[in-house]
């Protein structure tokens, strides 16, 4: 096999210039990754007490919870979907841990149950949105109300109870793991981050995830099974959301099925702030991490400025709309001609 087709344009081949689109992508991604730094500077200037080990760690703990919750949102968006069942899954895990622990269940058993339920939620999301061609918006919305409802029925509305001490420690800003002064929640997040990025960049599954988001019909013909990809994506998302739900139990000591509610908006905010296109096929969890840090610090800033939760909501909304108009301009039809 020696035939080489030589009728391309040699002058262009020799120059092999870096493509323009990649350059603008690189420029905008530099901005995305710099934005947490800028935000941090603003935060230290306006809010006293942030610039301390405890201050930073409490920010990171908050970011860890949001970060875990946003794994599923990122991947769902990357395959052209969305996951509205994340808050319900967070609430489910939160209530199961506290209630069952109070009833005397061993922690490993509780974890096993939470994992099984999460996988069931993810699998159902993936199957329903593939097999019946339903929009993930509808499927995950239905799933959310199914999960929340079931938890309420199962616990008879008596949510809440007790948490194991090590969970409280895991989210404590002064907590540490193996003598390193970093709370376990943050370690868990970093470990998840490493795995998620490895999967995105180096695995066959990762490539298929992008392919599915980019062009489903073409992906099928390139031997990608959309059902499998969706089931995995929503299951991983549910598992991570459950981890966030368990960690949240460490904060309040109490529990509630609705504890995850703010995370619908904030996970989407984190994804959008990170610049992952809502059209699917592009983006990465690394960008979402930047979005998570910015969102967390922005909220902390607003709290520090004594802006109430309603006004916070308004300002986050404005931020999202601004960002969407900036990022939304990529991938124009003209590029497909």
């Amino acid at each position: 096999m020696s035939t080489t087709i030589t009728h391309g344009d040699p002058s262009l081949a020799a120059a092999s210039p870096p493509p323009p689109k990649r350059r603008t992508a690189r420029a905008s991604s530099v901005l995305v990754y710099l934005s947490p730094v800028a935000m941090f500077v603003v935060l230290t200037l306006t809010t006293p007490g942030v610039l301390s080990t405890t201050g930073v760690m409490s920010l990171l703990v908050l970011a860890s919870v949001l970060g875990l919750a946003a794994v599923g949102q990122t991947w769902a968006v990357m395959i052209g979907g969305i996951d509205l069942s994340i808050p319900a899954t967070i609430g489910m895990a939160n209530v199961l841990v506290t209630t069952l622990y109070a009833e005397g269940w061993g922690f490993p058993r509780i974890v096993l149950l939470v994992v099984v339920v999460s996988l069931a939620i993810g699998t159902a999301n993936g199957l329903l949105s593939s097999l019946f061609g339903l929009h993930p918006l509808v499927v995950t919305l239905g799933m959310a109300s199914l999960v929340t409802g079931s938890v309420l029925v199962a616990t008879d509305g008596n949510t809440g109870g007790d948490v194991p001490g090590f969970i409280t420690d895991a989210v404590s800003p002064v907590g540490s793991v193996w003598g390193i002064g970093v709370p376990a929640a943050v370690i868990l997040w970093l470990a998840t981050l490493a795995v998620v990025l490895l999967v995105e960049r180096r695995t066959v599954f990762g490539r298929r995830l992008y392919a599915l988001g980019s062009n489903e019909r073409a992906a099928r013909l390139a031997l990608v099974r959309p059902v499998v990809v969706r089931v995995v994506v929503y299951s991983v998302g549910a598992l991570c959301a459950s981890a966030a739900g368990v960690l949240l139990a460490g904060f309040s000591g109490g529990a509630s099925v609705s504890i995850g509610d703010p995370y619908l908006f904030s996970t989407i905010t984190a994804v959008v702030v990170g610049g992952t296109s809502l059209l699917g096929g592009a983006g990465t969890y690394a960008r979402t991490v930047a979005g998570v840090l910015v969102t967390t610090m922005f909220t902390t800033l607003l709290v520090g400025l004594e802006i109430g939760p309603n006004m916070q909501q308004v300002m986050l909304g404005v931020a999202i709309l601004l960002l969407i108009t900036v990022y939304g301009r990529d991938r124009h039809v003209a590029q497909r001609l």
């Binding site: 020696s2 035939t3 087709i5 030589t6 092999s16 493509p19 066959v204 490539r207 073409a218």
Partner: protein, 529 residues
């Protein structure tokens, strides 16, 4: 070079340079289109033809230089601006939305902000007239284009241009997906318009079309304008040598080394095959190491046949079987077919082929990634080596796996799609019109490549809309008509006229009844009657 016509040019490009970031797609491009002429624009893949088209259609503005309409410099800042100057375009990539009906596709962008709920009756009639003049069924206007063939989608985009008022029509390889009869009708329509003083800018890689149609041609090479020649000078040999910068370019033909294979050694076969419900059943044998061409007019079953053979589409009845180490295995789906050694290169590269948000390397390696992976983790170096190999073999420009796929010219994107499945090293390679939009030189090299593959034992089934292509590179040609294989031609019988006749099935005698060259046709009639 021909003398410029006396009347002011309809549209003129002067000293145009265009860059995509650092890539210089056009430099010092000159083009002048006279009223009432069909002006050819030719050049190898990536030579800047589509870039010229996009500049004239208001998709992009030139980095430098001037666009003149009727002698006056204009700023075509948007497609709407181009439309106001009565420039309409059919783009190389057939952009048709599956979300709305064919009719809405045709009139997309004409309505104001308060969109009319239904297209008016006048609009429908206008669209139907155009569709009918192209010989297509008006039914394609009613439904969602989801199930339409590439040719039918192309008819929609042609209609979209032709229903608007225009004095310059730009066709960027708009004929590459059309079958012979639709193409001829389009040419007749264009001839009428030309008589009324309208102009056409015609981009094509098909020398036969250029010869029939054009009055003058401008040749592009590596983003530069080589020159404009009049009809008499625009012979294929001359154009080819201007395009490539080599004097011998017109000469080196690949001789089809058609060999007859032993009929017994069949590697893939259709038994009692029926492509769509109620269509007649037929048998088809694909022999080991042959290149079997699939011909036929659009909608006559050729596309269905390759899809059925590849397991992409279920058979209506009957079965497709592939030889797996001496025993017949039934093909039940395309993943299973792939495991049995069959690879399928789809025809609609935008809808079924490319991943627009990904790089060239990702696009090319998608189907074969697992082969470079252990425990789900792939080795980038090994993937890239393979990608580079395929890119070299197919001459993809630029030779850069990290280039975004949307930054490739149409022909180069097509090569990447073919490369994806060549990399799979299948036993049977099934190609659905693989060289659509690929330039002539590359095509010839590709035929040689296919020939080499078959020598190494690969079997090739290739659908093509071009009869010439079928004749040049295939050992046998199965012509589809009325959703079945009407005839399989080989050896002496494999001639242009025979293929053409078979395409029209039994109707050939009605159309060419006065023709005396009908020994071929007679045998066909015997087959059908």
């Amino acid at each position: 070079m021909s003398t410029p016509p006396l009347e002011p040019a309809v549209v003129e490009l002067a000293g145009i340079t265009h860059r995509y970031g650092p890539t210089v797609a056009l430099s010092d491009c000159r083009l002048s289109i006279a009223p009432g002429e069909v002006h050819g624009l030719v050049g190898e893949n990536g030579s800047g033809k589509s870039t010229v088209v996009k500049l004239l259609s208001g998709i992009m503005r030139p980095t430098e230089g001037e666009v003149r309409v009727g002698g006056k410099a204009v700023d075509l800042r948007s497609p709407a601006a181009a439309q106001r100057h009565e420039i309409v375009t059919v783009f190389q990539e057939t952009l048709v939305s599956d979300e709305c009906s064919g009719l809405d596709n045709v009139f997309a962008g004409t309505d104001g902000i308060f969109r009319r709920a239904r297209s008016g009756r006048a609009e429908r009639e206008a669209a139907e007239r155009v569709v009918a003049s192209l010989g297509a069924s008006p039914a394609i206007l009613q439904s969602s284009p989801h199930h339409l063939s590439l040719a039918e989608r192309q008819v929609l985009t042609l209609t979209r241009a032709l229903v608007r008022p225009w004095k310059l029509l730009i066709l960027d390889e708009a004929t590459s997906a059309l079958d012979l009869s639709t193409r001829d009708r389009l040419f007749a329509v264009l001839a009428d318009h030309r008589r009324e003083g309208r102009s056409v800018l015609f981009v094509s890689h098909r020398m036969d079309e250029l010869e029939i149609l054009i009055d003058r041609a401008t040749v592009q090479r590596s983003g530069r304008t080589v020159g404009t020649v009049g009809k008499d000078e625009a012979t294929p040999a001359r154009l080819l040598s201007m395009m490539s910068g080599r004097s011998d370019a017109g000469e080196h033909h690949v001789r089809a080394g058609a060999r007859s294979r032993q009929a017994a050694d069949v590697v893939l076969r259709g038994v009692d095959l029926s492509l769509v419900a109620q269509a007649p059943a037929f048998d088809l044998d694909v022999r080991r190491g042959e290149i079997l061409g699939i011909g036929g007019l659009d909608g006559q079953g050729g596309s269905h046949l390759v899809e059925v053979l590849a397991g992409v589409r279920p058979t209506a009845s009957g079965r497709v079987e592939v030889d797996r180490d001496g025993s017949w295995t039934r093909v039940t789906g395309y993943r299973q077919a792939f495991r049995s050694g069959i690879a399928y290169v789809p025809g609609k590269r935008q809808e079924e082929g490319l991943f627009p948000s990904m790089t060239v390397g990702d696009n090319l390696s998608m189907a074969t990634l697992p082969r470079h992976a252990r425990a789900g983790l792939f080795r980038s170096s090994s993937v890239l080596t393979r990608v580079r190999e395929e890119m070299t073999r197919l001459g993809v420009v630029p030779h850069d796996p990290s280039y975004p796929i949307t930054g490739l010219s149409g022909g180069n994107a097509q090569k990447v799609l073919v490369g994806r499945w060549l990399a799979a090293e299948p036993d049977v390679l099934i190609l659905n019109d693989p060289l659509r939009g690929v330039d002539l030189g590359t095509k010839r090299d590709f035929y040689a490549l296919l020939r080499e593959l078959t020598e190494a034992g690969t079997t090739v089934v290739m659908l093509s809309t071009e009869i010439e292509e079928l004749l040049t590179c295939c050992d046998r040609v199965a012509v589809c008509q009325a959703e079945r294989v009407f005839d399989v031609l080989e050896g002496e019988d494999l001639t242009y006229d025979a293929v053409l006749a078979a395409m029209f099935g039994r109707h050939v005698s009605d159309e060419q009844s006065s023709d005396e060259q009908s020994s071929d046709h007679d045998t066909h009639r015997k087959v059908t009657l």
